[in-house]
Symmetry: C2
Subunit: 734 residues, 2 copies
């Protein structure tokens, strides 16, 4: 992550962070020194750098190893020096019949004294103890395409030409493509692919994922010897053919039913279409920042302060943005808050939809966090920051790929009308946002900060859906175009919220609203009253900490509290977790997914609480899809019955979008409804509402005739400001 | 509702509505003519106008009787003349031992020919057939206070002075007050009140509802003869005393425990408090409308059009704003959308909290829809409209009490990044808003309209909570101040959504995402796959149409569809109902409330569907609290097993806020978390995403080096506009 460009963000207040951002990433120099050092270690047998041949050993990743929380707290809270820095390195070891990824730690950094630097296998953060070695099912990626998939496709070119008017031969003039499932089928020691064909758009629009053609083939690609790979059959119109010959024979037999193809057209294009709406060519409403930014930033340390909040920004290949040491008025509320993994689990009558469960950290959120569209993804006046990622021996940068801005909701945070006055308070908030486009889908991820001390996460999805051929898919989606099913799928995004409420010794309190029937000293003892009360309970251990909302007919609120930090009214101080999404479930619909096996057990409940350990920093690993029966991190193993009573806790929250696409999702999914969020709201944490602190409130007093007699504005800005609204075009050419 | 003031709203486009707004309300002349006519009818025996003595017969309400849908559709769709207009009149008949409200219809209007005008009892819209007569338990309101409650209070003035340093005698220098439960206890033919004492603030702040004092008394006020009313006991510190003597004796006995009082202080005041936050005295972000409004308005007919939407605005005493004939691109989607009732049901260890279940239409949303705070409740640039309500023989007006404005969310409605371009579309929406302050609580109610054809309702609550004395209330709320419990309560607001999807013959489709285990032609028959599919079902009748979300472990979506209107892909065209709130339940926690009895059965499920009838126009009646055992409208009686398959349907949606106040709700509840909403989202209704219609989108093309090569802006406004941001103070003095 680099420094902001002065052109768009020169107006924030420059500050110096109180501490070093120990999560901020490696410097370019550090990265280069690690790469240099790695290439000098003969035992690593690195034969090339990134993306060399399939039988090379290469460096896949060099980034900062995030320090252990226990070490960081010594630095932040106990005057110890910052933790020693290490590089987290992933080697892609493919010069072997059993290719694997090697996770290693290199350090200490910087690599100044060559001999002081060492590497060790990285194993401690993973539940599976394999000295950091993870099998690589994707080692022969290029060969699989060039020597296998294209050849299979070529073997039926007569059929694809006739059925689809297209060929997929790996040539520039291919008009169809094929792509496969993820994860691969991994049972019984075999590695099985299913592939299917998709039309390519006739123009630049990225519409291929809504142009499925309905023809599937299965192949066994176990091992690294292509001569031993086997085509295992074809599927068309729900009929399985065990060989190409069988398929061809059927195809050329009388009565063979040919399915409709999905072909690009305006329906698949995102450009403006149709008659222009009345008045739409006038400038719409636009948010402006008349006095510039009201936050402060240390751009070197990626440290932000705003209206009492402060936090550091971290960024990683796997999961993009995380924030650390989130404080309000100096007191830490969260040690860490960040995305862990995003699952998109499809279902369908065909093997490709049924076997698709993307675990997006495999691709990585970091490298796909692209430049934001100013005035669209974020306001023009936002501060735009760069992000960086490792590629081919060095650090690459996506400029203006994070944004930070203040915004005003269209409603106040507080208001009250009385007979003699009305009071109202502006609801200004701060947003830190990035957008990661993993293939067809764009995830907009926002961290928000509010005047009442609330912290929020909001995810919204757009982009092209991945759709299915509609034949036989009636039970798996609506038909939304000629031969297209809006393939049903669950998006589940897991976030880690490592709360520290007035220290690390915290507990979980469940407060339920429960209907009851009871009598009181003042009520008729023979006629019990139907009413409700609160039931409060502290979670005891990890044996009961995997929860769904709502738990039952009752409404239950979950709070992270500190039993040793009661307020003066004897209530626990804490923060409530308030999930919010259009449909209430936050967990995967499928039970014991045959596609995921053990790769994403984190997706099975709405909210899950574990005891914090330095060796359980993450709920998921990007290579979990490489070995779904024995994943690197099996989230189930976090739950070993440990005590949750006044210990350091991690709250793992899932945000879910259960998506059954309709015609309204064509050409792209609409972000107003594809949304999920969670808010962390103070619960008896403060002695009163924090929104009283802002001066951006008003009290208007009026007399008997409702004539305004007083306008109290509490010292807020009173100057008149002229603002120029420029066409967004100017900015976008910049 | 009057015309907008030109000062704030001169810039919208003026249009003429295609039809007459038959829901728009009476003209002032009509109201006056009806009042005049009523006073001339000897059989009505009107002895005075509003709010006269307790033994007068008076006019409580004169407003437009909303015409039957069946008649209106003849007008809108079948070239018939508009329905004949009638006035809905409520008489307060108190010159009798058995006081009652008389609901009558007066018309036809206008009252030009006196003899052609008649009145009839209004009974047909009510489930209870009593010729429109509803008993009035509140007839002796003034006497109860002056002759009863203040005297009881005076009887223990020695104790209130010592305990509370206050007296409640009905004098100007009272420093405490008492107030009672609603509904009153009505069992066994008796009318029972419970009252409790509250501190009064020492200044103008409206804080009394958070200053409870913990002393309660019970009285039987059955009948109209105060000499027969009986004090039935006192409750203090959870001890019930059957007589004042018993209470006094205990009070003056050694060891009597005196509770802490709640006393106003800064904690209860809404003004700015504490050190000013860094940079808070700079102007915050502000939404502006550089080219003015982009909607069109017929101010006489209260008719609005915006980006393909059109609707008429109605307004009534009981429920405030409703909208009618909501169309998108000319096609009706909703005949009616509006609030029906708002319930605030408390619980507690004391009789007042336990017996409080406000049904706010009793007070009426209309008369409490006050002037909005410009720049706070709505943007300064909004169009502000007036509302009017009947009071004392004429129409009174609250100026600028509705607002209409466009806004831009902080995120786009669509975006997608590809290797060669990025596209993004602005998410502009229209809001119609009012705020009704019913006593301590302010309900902000917004109807929103979106570029994808979505229609939303959003409610947010602020204002002062009603709190309880904390003694013995641990199980009913958190202690949030010295002797204060944030009394737990459910807000349930019922909305009527009368959908007409391509005609009135509609059905309800439930689409559930269901985990399944199954095999496929392409899968191993011996190893069934764990996956999911859709289960679709049409609701048959009112026997199964009272639903909660989620129904079970599955996620279920509810759509209003038309089985006779399939799209070209054979899917039903329709709209989905997508509720959204921080906690998922939309129904009352209490089961069979002893306080409500039969007065609010609409509150017991999240969403309920009935067959439409002209005689079931509303789910609730404002006087349901006057006879909870035999309410005017018993919503249960709507469910008589009628067919819901391709008939005219009404969807009754509850929006709920389950509120367990914390210290963060002091002094006022925060609107960021006190929110509930529902969205009606197109589901296969259109052939593609409607957001493609706007020109406020952009496509930026880039070359190999990520250099911008194209900025396509689709004909959107390109001019530079200068805008002046003025201090809000200027506007508020206006």
């Amino acid at each position: 992550m680099g420094t902001p460009r002065s052109s768009t963000s020169s107006n924030f207040t420059v500050i110096k962070s109180p501490n070093e951002n120990v999560w901020g990433g490696l410097t370019d120099v550090e990265t280069a020194s690690v790469v240099h050092w790695l290439l000098q270690q003969p035992e690593l047998n690195l034969t090339a750098t990134d993306d060399a041949g399939e039988w090379d050993n290469t460096i896949s990743l060099v980034e900062l190893m995030r320090p252990n929380k226990s070490d960081v707290l010594q630095y932040l809270d106990h005057d110890q020096p910052p933790p020693t820095r290490y590089a987290h390195v992933v080697l892609d070891v493919r010069a072997t019949l059993d290719p694997y990824y090697a996770e290693i730690l290199v350090g200490p950094l910087p690599v100044t004294n060559q001999s002081a630097t060492t590497w060790v296998p990285l194993e401690y953060p993973y539940t599976r103890k394999t000295q950091g070695r993870i099998r690589n099912l994707d080692a022969d990626h290029d060969t699989i395409h060039s020597e296998w998939l294209y050849k299979i496709s070529a073997s039926i070119v007569d059929i694809t030409l006739e059925l689809f008017n297209g060929t997929a031969l790996g040539l520039d003039n291919d008009t169809i493509r094929n792509s496969g499932i993820n994860p691969l089928w991994q049972g019984d020691g075999r590695t099985i692919r299913w592939n299917t064909f998709w039309n390519l758009p006739v123009d630049d629009f990225d519409a291929s994922s809504i142009l499925p053609l309905g023809l599937f083939f299965k192949s066994d690609i176990t091992g690294r010897d292509p001569s031993k790979w086997k085509l295992e059959g074809w599927l068309y119109n729900n009929i399985f053919y065990e060989t190409t010959n069988a398929f061809r024979k059927a195809y050329y037999s009388p009565g063979f039913v040919k399915l409709l193809s999905n072909v690009e057209g305006d329906w698949a294009r995102t450009d403006q279409q149709g008659p222009i709406l009345p008045e739409d060519q006038k400038q719409p409403s636009v948010m402006l920042a008349p006095s510039g930014a009201r936050y402060a930033l240390d751009t070197n340390q990626k440290y932000v302060t705003w209206m009492g909040f402060s936090f550091y920004i971290g960024f990683s290949r796997d999961t993009g943005v995380s924030i650390f040491d989130v404080r309000y008025k100096g007191q830490r509320i969260l040690y860490e808050l960040g995305l862990q993994e995003a699952l998109s689990h499809y279902a369908g009558n065909d093997p490709v939809q049924s076997s698709t469960a993307y675990l997006d950290s495999f691709y990585g959120f970091g490298p796909y966090t692209f430049e934001l569209v100013k005035g669209y993804d974020c306001p023009i006046y936002a501060t735009y920051l760069n992000t960086s990622f490792y590629k081919s021996e060095s650090t690459h940068t996506h400029v203006d790929s994070l944004c930070l801005f203040e915004y005003d909701t269209d409603y106040p945070i507080q208001r009250h009308t009385t007979q003699s006055y009305v009071s109202s308070t502006k609801n200004i908030y701060l947003t830190l946002r990035s957008v990661s486009t993993i293939g067809n889908y764009d995830y907009t991820i926002s961290y928000t900060f509010h005047l009442d001390g609330t912290i929020g996460i909001e995810i919204r999805a757009s982009g092209y859906i991945q759709a299915a051929h509609s034949t036989h898919n009636t039970n798996y989606g609506y038909q939304i175009h000629s031969a297209l099913s809006g393939s049903m799928h669950d998006h589940i995004l897991n976030f880690k919220a490592d709360f520290d409420i007035l220290g690390t010794a915290n507990s979980i309190e469940l407060t339920s609203l429960v209907p009851i029937t009871t009598t009181y000293p003042w009520s008729n003892p023979n006629r019990p009253r139907n009413t409700m009360h609160l039931s409060r309970r502290i979670l005891s251990s990890e044996t009961e900490s995997r929860l769904n909302f709502p738990q039952s007919a009752t409404t239950t609120m979950l709070s992270i509290i500190n039993q040793d930090a009661r307020n003066s009214y004897n209530e626990y101080r804490g923060y409530r977790v308030l999930p919010s999404s259009p449909l209430s479930s936050g967990h995967l619909t499928i039970i014991n997914s045959s596609t995921l096996i053990h790769a994403a057990h984190w997706s099975e409940h709405d909210i899950q609480i574990t005891q914090h350990h330095d060796h359980e920093p993450r709920s998921a690993h990007p290579y979990n899809n490489q070995d779904v029966y024995n994943p690197v991190i099996n989230f189930n193993e976090f739950f070993d019955g440990e005590d949750l009573n006044q210990t350091d806790l991690v709250v793992w929250v899932n945000l879910a979008m259960h998506h059954v696409p309709t015609t309204g999702d064509l050409p792209n999914t609409v972000m107003t409804t594809a949304v999920a969020g969670v808010r962390f709201v103070s619960g008896n944490y403060f002695m009163g509402g924090q929104s009283r602190g802002t001066v951006n409130m008003v009290r208007v007093g009026f007399g008997d005739e409702d004539v305004v007699e007083e306008v109290e504005t509490f010292g807020q800005a009173r100057e008149m400001v002229e603002v120029v609204v420029r066409p967004v075009e100017e900015v976008l050419w910049g």
